[in-house]
């Protein structure tokens, strides 16, 4: 055999082998073996007729079978790309699924469909690095991600967000948390949360605008109450939010029932270590008490109710004082053997006279009424025409 003929035979055999599927598939998401060799990809317009089969590949047999159970009822229905989209949505919603590609081809009697799935890796370990304000063990105990779970980037992102919010509550306003995965043996991954706490932000100044009835010093003292917002100390958003409620109550107790305090303006310094806070207060008008009355199933004369309420017509409206008075009335009910009696006040505003009339409604246990104490502040008056 001449050299040329030998070469021809070798190349011919090599070509035959290549043509007969001698190539090894490297894509793990593809089916392990196809029973029949397929030609070039079909055209979308060739996909007509009924769905004759739906395969799910790229998952373990058990998971693929479960996924297939969710879509197999569609076998026998007319092929429709909109339906296939629904199946992709369904399979994508299953745990551990990272990607789904829907493929189809004409087959005997209709269209064969397969959903090629790529799964997320399994988690080997979870770690939190760089956390000092909150110990890593604390984070891990509330993580909800453990060894053996499918890695879930959505859950990891949600946990990252929770961590940032918690750190902000601790005054680390610039805290950043990132997650990443590191490859581990057996196609698993190590999930790592990296925390950059940043400095604890300090309150540098508090600007208050619009206060006339209440002095700045009094407002500053309210803000700092109960470890709240104090110049020179750690900024803590929850404390500031809480202080807003105390500020409002302070005004309610001084007759300013329509007081409005805007959402605090927070200005972080360029070096992100100091927070300047701006408060804008619209105090509104001061209201006094108008007519007082007690009605309903009274267990004592109306006068006694009003005496226990502890306020008089003409006095400046004071929510805390009214709350204390209502508690005394409840006590009187208990003393008189009627603990189930309920008292709830209603208010009526006179915008011209700037007064609030209060009527106490006393009802027996059968009545359904809102919670009797403490009295809510009067409703905001209608806007002047």
């Amino acid at each position: 055999m001449s050299g040329t003929r030998l070469l021809t035979v070798i190349l011919f055999l090599a070509a035959l082998l290549a043509g007969c599927g001698g190539k090894t598939r490297t894509d793990a998401a593809r089916p392990v073996a196809e029973k029949e060799e397929l030609g070039p990809p079909a055209r979308l317009e060739d996909l007509k007729g009924k769905v004759v089969s739906i395969e799910v590949v790229g998952m373990s047999a058990e998971r693929a079978s479960r996924a297939r159970d969710g879509v197999k009822k569609n076998i026998g229905t007319a092929f429709d790309r909109a339906h296939v989209a629904g199946w992709v949505h369904f399979v994508a919603s299953l745990s551990g699924v990272a990607d789904v590609v829907a493929e189809a081809r004409p087959s005997k009697g209709g269209v064969a469909v397969r959903l090629v799935v790529k799964e997320h890796p399994v988690v080997r370990t979870v770690d939190v690095r760089g956390s000092h304000a909150v110990p890593a063990t604390e984070w891990l105990s509330r993580m909800g991600i453990k060894e053996g779970d499918y890695f879930d980037p959505v859950l990891a992102t949600a946990r990252r967000q929770d961590m940032v919010e918690t750190l902000q509550q601790f005054g680390h306003f610039t805290a950043q948390v990132a997650w990443g995965v590191e490859k581990a043996p057996d196609d698993r991954v190590d999930l790592v949360f990296t925390v950059e706490e940043g400095p604890a932000v300090v309150v540098s100044k508090i600007d208050i605008k619009g206060n006339k009835a209440v002095k700045r010093e009094a407002l500053i003292e309210i803000l700092s109450k109960n470890g709240g917002t104090t110049i020179g100390q750690r900024y803590w958003r929850d404390a500031l939010s809480n202080a807003m409620l105390h500020l409002t109550s302070h005004y309610y107790d001084r007759g300013y029932i329509n007081v409005q305090i805007d959402t605090p303006q927070e200005t972080l310094s360029a070096d992100k270590t100091a927070m300047a806070i701006g408060l804008t207060i619209r105090e509104g008008e001061r209201f006094r008490l108008g007519k007082l009355d007690a009605k309903g199933s009274l267990v004592a004369p109306a006068g006694e109710y009003l005496k226990l309420l502890g306020v008089k017509t003409g006095e400046v409206f004071n929510r805390s004082k009214l709350a204390a008075g209502l508690e005394k009335i409840n006590q009187m009910h208990r003393n008189k053997g009627a603990p189930a009696m309920e008292v709830f006040p209603t208010t009526e505003l006179d915008m011209k006279k700037k007064t609030v009339a209060i009527t106490l409604h006393v009802q027996g246990p059968a009545a359904t009424s809102p919670s009797p104490t403490p009295p809510p502040p009067p409703p905001a008056p209608p806007k002047a025409p």
Binding site: T4, P41, R81, A82, A85, H89
Partner: protein, 217 residues
């Protein structure tokens, strides 16, 4: 001699392979064709390539022509934003009834002077079925409600701001009507502008706290 022999062999092999693959292809079943895929993951939801294609199709300059460069990516980003609002609606348990969707579709038909057949034809041209369109309208109503519930409370327009805006506008256009006549229009305009700005701010915050992955084709 050897070199020319090899050339002859190569031609021969080429011909043989051509014949071989040609005859085999004729017998083979057609291979798999991609029907759909995930275009983006947005938290627990996905956007499919088919959904993106349907939204991009009307942007093409003509039938059978591709959309302008960058249109697909821009639309995908818009769809991601929409999905974030839809997810917020779901979190806030906002619901839209079938009747509300039907009412909206009737309104769309009326505004576009379409009967049922006309609507179906228009939808078909855009690659929609009525079922898909109903779902699309439902999602749109959901998003609007989410925006009203989430963004509207963040927007405050004070009376003094409306007055200041009126003074500015009056300076620019002395023919502008009296304040009482113009104030509601100005206030609505300011609310609308601030809502758009707040919505952008909300989306930036939400994107930072979300898992968003765009998949290649």
């Amino acid at each position: 001699m050897l070199r020319s022999g090899m050339r002859a062999a190569a031609v021969c092999i080429g011909t043989a392979l051509g014949l071989l693959s040609g005859s085999a292809a004729a017998d083979k079943q057609p291979g798999w064709v991609q029907v759909d895929r995930i275009a983006a993951v947005v938290n627990q939801d996905v956007i499919l390539a088919s959904e993106l294609a349907r939204r991009v199709a009307p942007l093409a300059p003509g039938p059978g022509k591709p959309p302008p460069p960058g249109a697909e990516r821009q639309m995908l980003e818009a769809m991601i934003d929409e999905l974030l609002f839809t997810q917020e609606a779901s979190r806030a348990r906002i619901e839209v009834s079938f009747q509300e969707v039907e009412g909206a579709i009737q309104e769309i038909k009326r505004a576009n002077q379409l009967d049922d057949a006309g609507l179906l034809k228009a939808l078909e041209q855009q690659g929609y079925t009525l079922e898909l369109y109903r779902e699309d309208v439902r999602q749109q109503i959901l998003r609007l409600r989410a925006i009203n519930q989430v963004i509207r409370p963040r927007v405050v327009v004070r009376d003094d701001e409306v007055e200041a805006a009126y003074k500015e506008a009056k300076k620019a256009d002395p023919k502008l009507g009296a304040f009482d006549k113009e104030k509601d229009r100005l206030r609505n305009q300011m609310i609308e502008q601030r809502m758009a700005a707040e919505a952008q701010k909300w989306l930036i915050e939400r994107r930072l706290g979300s898992y968003i992955a765009v998949r290649g084709s």
